[in-house]
Symmetry: C2
Subunit: 769 residues, 2 copies
């Protein structure tokens, strides 16, 4: 049937056709962009494309060499992503630690004389930092607000959100998070770092930013979305690896949380990127140890080392640990729900009023945070220092400007400390270190912890969604470790055992809150272990995470899913909806009419079809000799636009085009620009002569899109769509007959042949001696 | 077209048809077993089935309750798998440690008097243990030989190998590995434990062993292959978690190495199982600490704790570490190649001669191992003990019968030790502990390490493939840590720095050899960290693994892939072959003729068709009113056999059957028995009356198997097949027209509706106050 079709005056197209069946899905799909009716760009996952270009363009001349070159470039880019993200993380860390260090040093110096002057300085310092952050974000890089993880997740799921991977977003994210984290808001720098890694990866993938003229031609190797998405996955892993200094956690985070379509080859490259990040960060740390980085340099590769903490646990402790899990699930789910409401309200009422409101809002939050973190400890009565062993290295109160427990703040005597200031009036990193710390039983009073929990939880909820780069990991750890330590205090009092450390419970609390809010499992577990360097608590962390995730799942979805949904990012979940079981593919298509194109189509028809609807794909139908119709492929809107724009393929004859010089196009024209919205039909000027001409679509269509019979269950269609990362599926009538059946054996034929060769070889080499 | 078809005298089938489109792939596929021409059973991955049963059978009556019950049972089974595997691991560990402990204690006691008598005892003890192991394996559980990981990998990839998941295999694996590991062979118990976990999971999944009458009806919840495979995945993770006491490593091993089709929901359950294993093992350890377990009880949850080792590294060290990576890649690839040759030779020449040869072979290997491990240290001159700080707790020589470094063996004076005996004449666990040990610089001479490396490498290669349960992890760690320590010695001598520990290099060597041989990345990395409790070396382990895997990949495939290939397990790799790009689906079908069945088919025709070929699936073709043919679905051989066997669906009329009482079958009949080979056409007796009757296939076929157009690239077909875990794909002609197009938006409709509800709800709830 097909060959009839070809013989039917289409000899000239044979050359092209003979090539097309060798290609893979996303052939040209890969380079298309499509617009949803609401104007946001939605784009598919398209894979296996660069190989096609390589194959089609280069095979004859360069072949294997080009392939090796491609692979080498991929690995080189992974290396660059690792180095870039590592350096960005180090830069952010050094800046934040220094700003925060100066701030606290200055404040502590001044409060020796006047608490009021100190308060003013503290407030203004914070305000200035937050203002710089929100100013950068609102005026320069609006996409840099928030954590960015829901958007990246959407991107890797196949949804392109305008602007999230721009160069300006990268800059906004880096400097914005320095301001927001340094300014003492209840947010972290981890989510933004993931976004930073993704931006670096994406910019590398498209060969630099075209807008800022830092692009380079030789870098533009990756024309396909698939390769770009792979790079972005590497970038995400690098971000986590850099943020938590947790390379394996980074790989698992990319695997579990952000990516939708995972291949083992990619895992290998992601792993490499993470390892590079680890080395870069480690090197920077080593360099900083000599004191060249100002206030930065106290930490090691492990952020909150508790390897000296509790090593063992008894069975009675499992009950309070389970309680921590339940609390984590409840508070986490509540956090998700509250932030959902507040973000919804912000988006619909507050942020519509423009940038000025956003700036004022952020400043007010900064003021509130400063007042609470400075003021509330003032109200707290100081506690006398415990009698400590001088050899343990724990000072009470600690020397001003140093890091450590037992902060002296507004205390009458020099041998007293303020337990609330120890956690509140401190950088979050140090506060967490203090909460996790072992050998400091009874450092905090239950009242202080409870006050802090309520205050900080509220601040975290309010801060979430304001127009500054904001991660949720560190606030989550803060909240979790507070109630964890609270539970730990009760356990210590109740069981009266010596080998229980409150810090252990703080760690479990942190894990439980993150589990209850973000609903990650393995990656979170590994991250917690990597940031605390205590493997012995691993089984406990696992159990707590299981409980808190289960409890949280009973109420709502994970934080990122909720936020993605709110932002209108249509994530395809891994599991089809239950209702789809009762629907067929035909019912799933919706009511939109299918608009088909003939193989050779008049330009005016194309223009009017493109104007009349918003479809992104058009089936192309041809006629066989005996008058039957035949679906010959899928033509994308974006490719039609390129054809109309370039005009080189226009022909006067309504017959299929000649064989020679069929592809007058540089394939690069079809590559979608990553940082612009692509062509629109209204941008294209067509003269009346042009409109009278024809285009032969055969060389430009995807000759074999996936098809499903009309009465297939929509669940099956969903799985096909999701698993293969498709964009268009044709729903067709049931076939009249079956030409062949493909089974596992058929797909192994080649391998078996190769095997035989190998085995033959082995037998030969064995029989010779 | 379809509705015409139905109206065309097929009213009676409407009820059935109306149900069928709601079902998913593998509808009945799931319960089929198929036989390859070589007699081995090859079976597909079939998913989403139990829900269908639930849906179809139970929806009306029980609905949600049944669904909750299903989920609860799944989790309960995960719990049981965790407990079972944990207990099995503890049992194996206690037995091995005790046998080995008695052996070494006895030998050490006797060699105080006579080295010859000690040697005899040592040899006989080993021989007895190995003999018991090989006897169990050869006579009772042939499938228990080897590591079992390639077979499990094949099973999860969709290939069923007869017998690997039997109850007797489980027993053989447990007792066999006690014998083989206790008997001092150069093999480990880790691979067998993975297999053990998988067996436990599979037996639970089918509700016990039917053969040994320990099955229970209420346990038989899991009728679908998909659920069984999920359970087996949990079992694998549990095995690794128990073997290495590495719960996260177990999850990642299951993810990276064994499973082919991964869902995030499954990860969650696997994670739970691993956590349970950790708790069980931890509990047993705690119980054993009080001395109730004989020689077992020295170790903690971490097997080889090196947390006190080198914390930092300088850049000059990266070069020797890279060298270790290269050596690991080379030796690992060589190991894979040598074992491939030797296994090939064994299978084709040696093991064909029967069990007697296998037993003799294993005994000879045991003798050789005993002679070398006893004899070679004898030839080595003893070394004077170094001057050690008594407070460090290191004894030289160690007291007889104790574990530790500096073994006194055939030394003249009491202040000497034999460095070769320290690693050779010891259990492998202790040897590795000694090799990893820090603060013992210059314990080993280069000569001893080199001797040991050559000897042990040879022994490991020879032992591989003999008829005993054999894991490759511990031997790999032994080999790797030996050359790692060797490199470490040179580094210590060359750089003359104090903060370099030879043990660190031993650890990196171990990682590099495993990476070079097994080619795992993330899971191996996490396992190495978990078994040594040293997170600070993580970046180094990652780099070494990257190098060794890259070097190894240049030569051959990973150990398990090579072994699977040799055993004829046709693994579908994640990446299609390059040659497939040039082939179309039609070319991929091979030359076998498609045999179609009509909807209502004569029993005699079915019988003759089933006898005449070995196909496992048959397209069913029906005619519409206007005489056109229409493919209405796929009928499986196994279901035809069930229909022929039960005979209840036979009818006299050649017309489609009546609507009422269509499904006379209990669906359980279609469930494939996991531990038998299923029906064969020769087992079924059909009388001549039977042969004249008809069957209406409509209720039993899979109404919408996946289809591909004839000229689709085979690569695309491969991806479809592999990603969705299919078994049959129909190759059909191109469609004549397109009924509809499914895009992301269509698949989100339902979700958007729900979203709107939610958002509406939120707006409402927000606007009320």
């Amino acid at each position: 049937m097909l060959s009839n079709h070809l013989q039917n005056g289409m000899e000239t197209a044979r050359l092209v056709w003979s090539r097309l069946p060798n290609t893979e899905d996303g052939e040209f799909d890969a380079v298309g962009i499509s617009k949803k009716s609401d104007g946001s760009s939605v784009e598919s996952l398209d894979y296996e494309v660069i190989e096609n270009y390589a194959y089609r363009e280069e095979q004859a001349q360069r072949g294997k060499v080009y392939f090796v070159y491609q692979v080498a470039v991929k690995w080189f880019f992974s290396l660059l992503i690792g180095i870039g993200t590592g350096l960005a993380a180090v830069f952010i860390n050094i800046s934040v630690e220094n700003f925060a260090g100066w701030k606290f040093q200055l404040t502590f110096n001044i409060i020796q004389k006047s608490y009021f002057a100190g308060f003013l300085i503290y407030v203004l310092f914070n305000l200035a930092l937050v203002l710089s952050s929100v100013y950068i974000v609102t005026n320069f890089a609006p996409a840099a607000a928030g954590s960015g993880i829901p958007e990246i997740k959407g991107y890797l799921n196949g949804v392109d959100i305008h602007g999230i991977l721009f160069f300006r977003t990268l800059i906004g994210k880096i400097f914005g998070s320095i301001g927001s984290v340094g300014g003492g808001l209840a947010l972290g720098k981890e989510g933004p770092l993931v976004h930073t890694g993704a931006c670096i990866a994406s910019l590398l993938g498209q060969g630099g930013s075209t807008k800022y003229h830092v692009s380079s031609r030789w870098l533009q190797v990756f024309k396909s979305d698939r390769d770009r998405r792979d790079l972005v996955t590497c970038g995400c892993a690098a971000g986590v690896a850099a943020a938590f200094r947790a390379p394996v956690g980074g790989v698992l985070f990319a695997l579990e949380e952000v990516t939708s379509w995972w291949r083992s080859q990619l895992m290998w490259r992601v792993f490499f990127t993470s390892a590079i990040v680890a080395v870069v960060v480690r090197t920077a740390m080593g360099w900083c140890k000599s004191g060249k980085c100002g206030h930065f340099g106290a930490g090691g590769f492990i952020i909150w080392d508790i390897s000296g903490a509790q090593e063992d646990y008894s069975f009675q402790e499992l009950l309070p640990m389970a309680v921590i899990g339940v609390i984590g699930g409840l508070l986490g789910a509540l956090f998700n729900q509250l932030t959902l409401y507040i973000t919804h309200w912000r988006r619909n009422y507050l942020h519509k009023k423009g940038n000025r409101v956003k700036i004022i809002e952020a400043c007010l939050i900064s003021l509130l945070t400063s007042v609470i973190s400075f003021g509330v400890p003032l109200l707290r009565k100081c506690t006398p220092c415990p009698e400590t062993d001088p050899s343990s290295g724990i000072q009470c109160p600690r020397s001003p400007g140093m890091y450590g427990n037992y902060v002296e703040f507004y205390c009458g005597r020099k041998t007293e400390y303020n337990d609330l200031a120890t956690i509140f009036f401190n950088t979050q990193d140090d506060a967490i270190r203090n909460l996790f710390s072992a050998k400091t039983i009874h450092e905090y009073s239950a009242q202080s912890l409870l006050t802090f929990l309520v205050m900080f939880y509220t601040l975290a909820v309010i801060t979430f969604g304001s127009a500054v780069p904001a991660g949720q990991f560190v606030p989550g750890i803060m909240i979790g470790s507070t109630y964890g330590r609270l539970v730990g205090m009760f356990v210590v009092n109740f069981y009266k055992k010596l080998n229980i450390e409150e810090g252990t419970y703080a760690l479990l609390g942190a894990a439980s809150f993150l589990g209850g809010s973000m609903r990650m499992t393995v990656s979170l577990c590994v991250i917690m272990v990597e940031i605390t360097n205590n493997l012995k608590l691993l089984p406990l962390i696992m159990l707590v995470l299981l409980i808190s995730k289960a409890v949280g799942d009973a109420f709502n979805e994970g934080l990122y899913e909720e936020q993605a949904r709110l932002r209108g990012i249509p994530l395809l979940e891994s599991r089809p909806k239950y209702r789809m079981r009762k629907m067929t593919a035909k019912e799933g298509c919706g009511s939109q009419k299918v608009i088909s194109l003939p193989r050779v189509v008049k330009v005016s028809d194309v223009a009017s079809i493109l104007r009349s609807n918003k479809h992104n794909g058009f089936p192309v139908i041809d006629h066989t000799r005996n008058g039957e119709t035949l679906v010959i492929g899928l033509m994308l809107r974006s490719h039609l636009l390129v054809l109309l724009h370039s005009k080189v393929d226009f022909q006067h004859s309504p017959l299929p085009c000649e064989g020679s010089g069929i592809i007058r196009h540089n394939f690069n024209e079809f590559v979608k620009p990553a940082t612009s919205r692509g062509l629109s039909i209204d941008d294209i000027h067509l003269s009346s002569d042009d409109l009278e001409m024809y285009i032969d679509l055969a060389p430009f269509l995807n000759p074999s899109p996936y098809v499903v019979p009309e009465d297939m269950s929509l669940t099956k269609v969903y799985n096909l769509f999701r698993q293969l990362g498709l964009r268009h599926i044709f729903v067709v009538p049931r076939a009249s007959h079956v030409i062949g059946l493909i089974t596992r054996k058929d797909l192994l034929i080649e391998e078996e042949n190769e095997d035989l060769d190998t085995v033959e070889l082995q037998s030969t080499s064995r029989s010779t001696p």
